[in-house]
């Protein structure tokens, strides 16, 4: 396991400058920044961003995308996140579904979905978690039964982000009964239309009162054969590699950056108190170092490597870091929190306190990540 320092090329720096200019135009100076990729669902912004070529960057041109490198995608993502841009509509389709379709999808599926994803117009959710299955994905109970021309799917998915606004979701389900000792076999992924008959989407109100997560009940939902993603029976392998995509990007450590920036605004100037200065310095230094780790994973991906352990480490350190940042700012601020009143810093901090517990759970809990990483370290 080895992270290597890397710097951005002039072309990569130019891309960054373009994204910054774009954001300066698009986002009013007083906009309330979104915290993380799930912060705000804004189709208009997604389409505008796509028009600049900054959605579907991983997708090859023949499918409407741009075939850009992992580092280019990294640069665009970090600029968007640092600015708190509203990328919630397209982000999951862009980061996760696009690559999955490229890896496992049929030619027909690629032609059908990828251009829309790259245009910032087709949005996906993920259908993994269930009421009784958290990190242990093999225990999913949603079941697909073979019928003429397709599958009938019944079951319930939970924590489905933006299912009430998105178009499709990739459902992990059992296509053959669980066999003793082979619990990862018999799982498959189906692409399900969130507006199909038999699909019921109900909100799961989040701690901060927002509607982002949903329960999606599937009752005898018909899914045609051509909506099977990848191989029947390979769902577990496909999904666990999807989790790897989730692990090390800037979305794993930049979600709460805008809160730090607003803290600096409150303390800007030469007369900053010692303890506020120490908090600013500490987290700026760690942002800088963690960013280097994360960037080095992107560089390794472009070099054709498979830095799975490194990615798990970045996510583990990054998400704990996000929570530590929120807590340290809360202690330093010595204020009462209210999502609705106060300065922008105070309102963002209130939001971050309420939402930060989720960051160490999404995309593999801290405990799962540690196990992945620790095994990798020993080998």
């Amino acid at each position: 396991m080895q992270f290597s320092a890397t710097t951005l090329s002039p072309a990569e720096e130019k891309l960054r400058a373009e994204v910054r200019d774009f954001l300066a135009e698009q986002l009013p100076p007083d906009h309330r920044p979104a915290l993380g990729f799930a912060g705000r669902h804004d189709p208009a912004f997604s389409r505008t961003l796509a028009a600049r070529g900054w959605v579907g960057m991983a997708i090859p041109p023949e499918y409407g995308g741009h075939g850009r490198s992992a580092v280019d995608r990294f640069v665009v993502a970090e600029e968007l996140l640092a600015a708190g841009a509203p990328i919630g509509a397209h982000f999951v389709a862009d980061r996760q579904t696009g690559p999955a379709l490229l890896h496992y999808g049929t030619e027909e599926q690629r032609r059908r979905f990828l251009p829309g994803i790259a245009a910032g117009e087709v949005y996906f959710s993920l259908g993994m978690s269930e009421p009784d299955s958290g990190s242990d994905l093999a225990s999913v109970r949603t079941r697909a039964t073979k019928v003429d021309g397709g599958w009938t799917v019944t079951g319930t998915k939970v924590w489905t982000s933006e299912a009430h606004r998105n178009h499709w979701f990739a459902v992990l389900c059992r296509t053959s009964p669980m066999e003793e000792g082979r619990k990862h076999a018999g799982l498959s992924q189906l692409i399900v239309d969130l507006h199909a008959e038999g699909v019921t989407v109900s909100p799961i109100p989040f701690l901060d009162g927002s509607h982002h997560f949903n329960e999606v009940a599937l009752e005898d939902v018909f899914v045609p054969d051509d909506m099977v993603l990848g191989e029947i029976g390979s769902g577990w392998q496909q999904v666990t590699s999807e989790l790897a995509y989730e692990r090390s990007g800037p979305d794993r450590w930049l979600s709460t950056f805008p809160v730090l920036r607003e803290f600096v605004r409150e303390h800007a100037g030469p007369a900053v108190r010692d303890d506020a200065a120490a908090v600013i310095g500490r987290f700026a230094a760690r942002f800088w170092a963690i960013r280097q780790m994360s960037l080095s994973v992107a560089r390794a991906l472009d070099a054709g490597q498979a830095p799975a352990v490194e990615a798990a480490l970045v996510k583990e350190v990054g998400t704990r870091f996000e929570q530590d940042l929120v807590e340290a700012l809360r202690v330093a601020a010595e204020t009462e929190l209210d999502q609705g009143t106060g300065t922008l810093f105070q309102r963002l901090l209130a939001e971050a306190v309420l939402t930060s517990p989720k960051v160490t759970l999404q995309g593999g809990t801290t405990e799962i990540l540690r196990s992945v990483a620790a095994k990798g370290l020993g080998s």
Binding site: T335, G340, P357, K358, T365, E367
Partner: protein, 364 residues
């Protein structure tokens, strides 16, 4: 409930209160009260049993009992996330009014949170007092009948029972949707019998200590429940074929939560038990600092142990942790009290440090 019971049988007091809250303050009730942060039915039942004014002497119109009784009651309220201003009643507002011989109001009473910039001043003189003031984030400010506050008039400190009906109210809320409203009075005339000189020892610091102790008590109760919920959930929930409580990582969370909950509970018990009758500075500062840190640490561990389910707004855990995240900052955060305490200890010097830590006797 008679004052004698309240004073002599704390266990019965908490048992009766627990009974009422178990019936009228279920997790579903708490969710239902979220829009307003207030449960009329619960307040009515508590009032009917005399709970709001536990620790205010019967002679002053209260229910009797002492500070420790009031804190035991607040621990129960914290445990049930009760959407009513119980901590603002007897322990703080009731004490303030009674100390100056003012009448307890009908309907909810509250107190200022003692925030920077809050002001309250009297003009006009005896018989014709007028109040001008601005208080921020007053708990249940808009929902209460009166605010018990300290105001200065002609260089003297007075206790005032200020009518909220005469105040401009700007609503706000904390992270748990409990009302925290700004109140402003502009040269409002005060009725006879609602102003009286503040006796010696009844000052901003004394009120702040009681406010902080009340929050500490609420936190300790909520933490006890968080610990129970987490033990139960991790014992029932299975992953990879066994209850998650068997995994070392989850055990670490369980132990952390138990430790912090127990530290918080003991800190409140000791600080309240030492009040004779006033809570001591060291005790309260230490109790609020310990419970504030406990709230932070245990909330994080409990969410990590619960996973996603803990973050639905309706699940009981979230109702508790959102309160913990708010209460820890109210009436002074742990950093505030750590600093105040540290200043006092540094001023006292090194040789008084251990005697101060090791005495259980509530010196101030």
């Amino acid at each position: 409930m008679s004052a004698t019971d309240a004073g002599t049988d704390r266990a019965m007091l908490t048992e009766v209160a627990t009974g009422i809250l178990r019936d009228l303050c279920t997790p579903e009730d708490v969710v239902a009260a979220e829009a307003t942060g207030w449960s009329d039915r619960l307040w009515g039942a508590l009032e009917a049993s005399g709970f709001p004014y536990v620790s205010v002497p019967e002679a002053a119109g209260g229910s009797g009992g002492d500070v420790a009784d009031a804190c035991a009651l607040l621990a129960v309220a914290g445990r049930f996330a009760a959407p009513v201003p119980l901590a603002e009643a007897g322990l703080t507002g009731g004490w303030l009014l009674a100390s100056a011989g003012l009448e307890l109001p009908d309907g909810p009473l509250t107190v200022p949170a003692g925030r920077p910039g809050d002001v309250a001043a009297l003009s006009g003189g005896p018989g014709a007092w007028r109040l001008t003031g601005r208080l921020t984030r007053v708990p249940w400010g808009g929902r209460s009948t009166r605010v018990a506050l300290l105001a200065t008039g002609g260089g003297t400190s007075y206790v005032v029972s200020a009518p909220t009906a005469a105040a401009r109210v700007t609503p706000g809320r904390n992270l748990a949707a409990e009302p925290r409203d700004d109140l402003a009075w502009d040269d409002v005339p005060l009725a006879a019998g609602t102003v009286a000189p503040a006796p010696a020892g009844v000052d901003d610091l004394a009120l702040r200590l009681r406010g902080a102790l009340g929050r500490a008590a609420l936190i300790s109760g909520a933490l006890a429940r968080v610990a129970e919920l987490t033990v139960r959930y991790t014992g029932e929930r299975e992953q990879f074929g066994r209850p998650i409580a068997r995994f070392q990582a989850v055990q670490a969370h369980l132990v952390t939560i138990a430790e912090e909950a127990q530290l918080a509970g003991l800190a409140v018990q000791v600080a309240a038990g030492n009040a004779r009758p006033e809570p001591g500075f060291f005790d309260v500062a230490a109790a609020k600092a310990v419970t504030g840190e406990a709230a932070t640490v245990a909330a994080r561990a409990s969410h990590q142990a619960h996973g996603a389910i803990g973050m639905t707004k309706e699940y009981e855990l979230g109702q508790l942790t959102r309160r913990l995240w708010s209460w820890r900052d109210e009436f002074g955060s742990e950093r505030y009290w750590n600093r105040q305490l540290g200043r006092r200890l540094a001023a006292d010097g090194p040789d008084r440090l251990w005697p101060r830590i090791s005495t259980g006797l509530g010196e101030t």
